[in-house]
């Protein structure tokens, strides 16, 4: 079983459009959306939820105003500037619990907070494990771990050949949680100077966590010069650049129709994504 995660560093390069098409093309796969704070994969796969689970993140401090004598020990102790006027700002609180320890009157308690939900759904391409962090919540990395764990269990139960994971943008906590111990990372890049800069950082992340990256360039024809630079740069670093997808309005049309582009179109982008999947499905992984 092979776990393939799609990352990009820079947002909006086309991760979800590519991954949803892989879901159509792969036989026997489990699908996984690791972008838990702005998930989109479900919009192309018509999922029917079969399991719903609650997700609790870090605890949040609560001050009992009846018991508090406003001595200020908690305010002095908090490193996150989360206590103002003897009330806890739940958005700033990182749940360390130090305020509750230093309070001489035991007026502070730590409370669990419901930070989101995760789901197992049925789709016409196999099971999908996905999640939704509640707005403005912390700890998306932990929720990503929960989603990936369930996807692995399902893959084992169903003897799936692939887990196909749609990753988040960036290189921080949720990207790290999506990437660590995956079999392979496909980096969807774009030929902008920003895209090149962000690609270098996400390749650094792959090196850091020892996951083999493959690179494809989406909308390559917006700058053929930058596309060549990306390919040269990959070559210099021993990274394989395995595909070029042209700018094709059918990609957006498919999103508007709620379909993976390979299901809806037979044109340029669709053809290249099919070739890309062939290359990934058959590429050797240690």
């Amino acid at each position: 079983m092979r776990e393939i995660v799609v990352l990009s560093g820079k947002g909006g390069t086309g991760k979800t459009a590519v991954l949803a098409s892989f879901a159509v093309l792969a036989e026997k796969s489990v699908l996984c959306d690791c972008d838990v704070d702005a998930p989109n994969l479900h919009l192309l796969l018509e999922p029917q939820a079969e399991e719903v689970h609650e997700f609790y993140g870090l605890q949040v401090a609560h001050i009992d105003s009846e018991a508090c004598n406003e001595c200020g020990a908690c305010v002095d102790a908090c490193r996150f500037d989360a206590i103002h006027d003897f009330r806890v700002d739940p958005l700033a609180c990182e749940g360390c619990g130090l305020c509750a320890r230093v309070c001489p009157l035991d007026a502070i308690s730590m409370r669990d907070t419901l930070a989101g939900h995760w789901y197992v759904s049925r789709t016409r391409f196999g099971p999908l494990v996905h999640a939704r962090l509640r707005a403005a919540q912390e700890n998306s990395g932990k929720l990503v771990m929960a989603v990936r764990k369930r996807a692995r269990e399902l893959a084992q139960q169903t003897d799936a050949a692939f887990i196909l994971s749609d990753g988040p943008p960036g290189i921080g906590c949720p990207a790290i949680s999506s990437l660590s111990n995956a079999s392979l990372a496909l980096i969807v890049s774009e030929p902008s100077l920003s895209g090149i800069h962000d690609l270098e950082r996400v390749l650094g992340l792959c090196r850091h966590f020892g996951v083999r990256p493959l690179v494809c360039i989406n909308k390559y024809d917006l700058s053929e010069e930058n596309s060549r630079r990306i390919e040269d740069h990959c070559g210099d670093g021993g990274v394989e650049a395995i595909g070029r997808i042209p700018f094709d309005p059918d990609v957006t049309k498919a999103i508007v129709q709620g379909l993976p582009v390979v299901e809806m179109s037979d044109r340029a982008a669709s053809r290249e994504i099919k070739a890309l999947w062939e290359a990934i499905a058959t590429c050797p992984v240690p």
Partner: protein, 285 residues
């Protein structure tokens, strides 16, 4: 005035709007652009500032004095992040999990835990024409963007018009960026993806009580669903940037809209005037 530029979905044009707005406001008092997308900072690519100062961002992490430690394990019990563990006669500190709260040193009965700084990123400042630029950069492999974002925001000039370029998403790094702003511009694209993430971004802005308005980028490329949503929710659409392959190509070369098509500077100034009107005392959104 502190104005943050966010989106939910990545790649919708936050940085294009933030940099173009900053450039268009040059000469109208001090303008400062803070790049708070510290995982993948891009504003400097478009603005090319001359960097004149660079400083490390550190998080305090525990340092255990083996002479004093009694291996009682209270530090490990106190840590909410599983960043310190006692196994037999060894104390393991997982520095990258540590949030720097100091609960471990607080509970240590032997006074064996002190703190040492650990670098997680860097903050740079410089100048691009009339725009003062500050940007943070998280070290590759580090999970927590928060301390770097906070370090960037500490350099905000209270006298200036401050424009914050937020990271994508809707969780802690975005909240860290836009809290304290007078207004949040949400840049979106007119597709179901753009709409879905915009809906969550609006929830975030409402949760932290920052008024917001929308900029639709690549207008004409998708469908009408974003327009309908904004009308329904009474969220003002303050600018529409039509889809134009030339804009996308200029962006690929690292050009802002304000530089590639100077006629847009006036429209960005008008956008800013609209925001100012909406944040004026007494107006309610």
């Amino acid at each position: 005035m502190i104005l943050s530029i966010a989106s939910g979905k990545g790649g919708t044009g936050k940085t294009l709007v933030a940099t173009s707005l900053a450039l268009s406001l040059q000469g109208q008092g001090a303008v400062q652009l803070l790049d708070c997308d510290v995982e993948e900072p891009n504003a400097h690519i478009l603005l090319r500032p001359q960097i004149d100062s660079s400083r490390p961002v550190t998080v305090p992490v525990p340092a255990v004095d083996k002479e004093k430690c009694t291996y009682c394990g209270l530090c490990s019990e106190a840590c909410a992040y599983n960043a310190i563990a006692v196994a037999g006669r060894t104390v393991l500190v997982f520095r990258e999990l540590c949030h720097g709260c100091s609960a471990c040193s607080h509970v240590c009965p032997a006074g064996a835990i002190s703190e040492e700084p650990r670098q997680v990123g860097v903050v740079e400042s410089g100048r691009a024409g009339g725009v003062r630029c500050v940007g943070g950069r998280l070290n590759v492999g580090e999970a927590m963007a928060g301390p770097v974002i906070r370090a960037v925001k500490r350099l905000a000039d209270p006298q200036a018009t401050v424009i914050l370029d937020a990271p994508p998403g809707t969780s802690c790094p975005v909240v860290e960026t836009i809290r304290g702003s007078d207004f949040c511009l949400l840049v979106t694209e007119p597709t179901p993806f753009g709409l879905s993430d915009l809906t969550i971004a609006v929830e975030v802005a409402r949760e932290i009580d920052v008024p917001c308005g929308v900029v639709i980028n690549r207008d004409g490329l998708g469908d009408e669903s974003v327009e309908r949503y904004c009308a329904q929710e009474a969220i003002p659409v303050l600018m529409r940037i039509p889809f134009d392959r030339r804009v996308a190509e200029a962006y690929c070369r690292g050009e802002t809209l304000a530089a590639a098509m100077p006629s847009w500077q006036q429209r960005f100034r008008e956008l800013f005037d609209k925001v100012r009107g909406l944040t004026a005392v007494g107006s309610v959104i």
